[in-house]
Structure formats: C-alpha cells, structure tokens
C-alpha cells in the first residue's frame, strides 16, 4: 500500500498562485527589476544608493514579486515592471532553440512559476512569454520523463540539478511510479530473504538452548 503520510500543497503554477503552497510563497520572493513611475515620498531610506529623502520618479530598483504585484496597477501607473533577463527576447530564442541545454535551476529555480506570474504585468511581450514557457516545458518533457523512469536505485542528484522546481516535482512522481513497479517485481525476492533471516534466527536460538 502507498505509505505516503505527507501531501504537500502543490504550487499553483498558472497565473493564480496557491496561497498555502510553500513553493509559491518562496516564489513571491523572486526579485523583479522595476522602474518607479511616480515619487515615493519619504521612502528614500529603502534605496541605499541615493541620499534623497524620497524615491524619485524613474528610479530603477529591484522589488520582490509580492510587492511589485501589489503596487502595480494598470490605470494609476505607480511602477512599471521590466522582464528579468531570462524572459527577454534574447533568452527566449535560446530556449526555443534547444530547451534541453539550459540550466533551469540556475535560471529559476521557479522559471515556469515566475514566468506565469509575470503575465500579471501587461506587457506587449506577454503572449510570447507564455508561448516560450509552454514550448520550453514541452521540449524538456522527454528528458524529464526518461530520466525519471529509468534511474532506478541510483544517485539522481546529477539528473535533477538542472531541473526547474516544477520539473523536479514531476521527476519525483515519475520515480514513485517506477519504484512502485520495481519493488513489486522484486517483491518475491524480498520476501524470501526476510523468511531466511527469520529461519537463521530460530536456528541460532535452538543452538543456544542446546549448548
């Protein structure tokens, strides 16, 4: 029987994030390059590089996703969000050329999650970004599947180190399928060793009694 006792809340992946997912909470800490579109009075202390009391209009800074998402509004332009470089045109071409060579863990590790969240900020590139995310996922699917279904009883850290957190989850579920099957196939062998152990144990006891 499945002996799983812990079911973590899965990340939402799409535009909606899952409030209770630890992965999604970590995801909102990813920093985005933003440009302020109005003056933030008396918040100059946040920006260590300038001495002024206010954050002036047009300052470029990095803000976490949760903050930029809260401040961003389509009508009152408080700040404009720029794309992190992995989602820009140049990197997108790399991803479409061969998604398998990219180290998504280094790029992300929430490449898909952050990319989906970026769609909140209206940018003319949005459809392209969504397309690139999907194509990257599809391109890398085969490799994730094959490595997760073939690596039995070996060190998988080399296989997963280049995977995005989402792909890591997939890898894990693939492994659970494989492990279940393999242990079933070997089930008979495992039982035999157990019984032989018990047998030896009994024998030794008998000898103890006799001596």
């Amino acid at each position: 029987m499945e002996s799983q006792s812990y079911f973590p809340v899965q990340p939402g992946v799409g535009v909606e994030e899952n409030f209770l997912s630890l992965d999604d909470i970590l995801l909102t800490h990813e920093r985005l390059p933003v440009r302020t579109e109005c003056t933030f009075p008396r918040l100059g202390f946040l920006d260590k590089s300038s001495d002024s009391q206010d954050i002036t209009e047009g300052t470029k800074m990095e803000l976490p996703l949760w903050l930029s998402k809260g401040l961003y509004e389509r009508k009152r332009r408080v700040l404009s969000v720029e794309m992190p470089k992995v989602y820009r045109e140049g990197w997108r071409t790399v991803f479409t050329a061969d998604p398998n060579v990219v180290d998504l863990h280094k790029m992300g590790p929430y490449y898909y999650g952050l990319g989906s969240q970026l769609l909140h900020f209206d940018s003319p590139e949005n459809p392209d970004i969504a397309q690139a995310l999907l194509q990257t996922f599809i391109g890398r699917f085969r490799r994730t599947m094959d490595s997760s279904q073939n690596a039995y009883n070996e060190d998988t850290s080399a296989l997963v180190e280049r995977l995005d957190s989402l792909e890591k989850r997939l890898f894990k579920s693939g492994q659970s399928g494989l492990n279940g099957f393999q242990s079933w196939e070997k089930g008979q062998a495992a039982q035999l060793t157990a019984s032989s152990l018990v047998l030896n144990y009994r024998k030794r006891k008998m000898m103890d009694v006799q001596s």
Binding site: L119, F137, W184
Partner: protein, 171 residues
Amino acid sequence: MDPLEVEFLAEKETVKIIPNFSLDKIYLIGGDLGPFNPGLPVDVPVWLALNLKQRQKCRIVPPEWMEVEKLEEIPFSMGLTKLLLTHASDNIPKADEIRTLVKDIWDTRIAKLRLSADSFIREQEAHAKLDNLTLMEINTIRTFLLDSLNCMYKLRSNLQQGSSKGQFSNY
C-alpha cells in the same frame, strides 16, 4: 494505484485448470465454481487456481498466448504472467524463456508508451486513446503523466489568458 492492487485485480482473470479431485458446484457471491471432476479441465479464476495449485490439487493449463512462439506482440498481462510464473512454473513449458520474453516485451512496450506520451505532449493534444495497454503499464506512468498534463494545461491556459488580455487592451 499500487502495483499490488493491480496484481490483485489480475487474479480475477480466468485460467484453465485440470483438478485431481472431485467436488460439486460451489456457490459463491462472486460466482459459481465447478463442478470439479478429476481430469476434466475447468475455467476458474486465478486466485482459486493458485490456491489449489499450492495445495497440489490441480494442474494449471497455461493460457494459449503463454508460449515462446506466440509471445511476440499480443497484448498480455504482466500481473497474470508473474503470478503464474512464480506459483505454477512447473506446469508451464519453458518457463524461464517465457520470463525473459515477457520482460523483453515489457521493455519494448514501455519504450513505445513513452514515445507516444512524448509525441502526445509535443503535439499538445487534448486527449488520446490508449488502446491495448495493460493496467500495469498504465499504472507505472500514471502519476507522472497526470502531473505533467496538469502542468501543461496550466501553462496553456496562461497562453490563452495572455492573448485575450492583449486583445482586451486593444479595444
């Protein structure tokens, strides 16, 4: 689903046995069994066949497909094969060879299944028809495939949302 559950389900398949005892028909909730006459072949579910076999009350007649020549590309049941091979290998001619063959077929079929899963994802199909797959095969790939289809669905709905948003702002 656990592989053990799949194995349990495989025990509902019927198999032909030749009993060496005689017994009237038995009436069970799951169906009537028998009557058993020594030397006369009867069809019984695998669980009963194995039980009788273990008590040496019968001989199991291996299914027709379980022959070295026939194990080429017919659909087969991994669970059933394993059950019969482990419990009644003395009734099956060339059991070792069959075991290797079955393992080979399994590997080929899994490779094929993976290939079709990949093309399924690659072409972004919404549904697929998986004919002639055994429960065990589906079971090994189930969690992985379901999770990845889920992810792909979400990434795809992103796409629609992104484009519809773009259209909206054009108006």
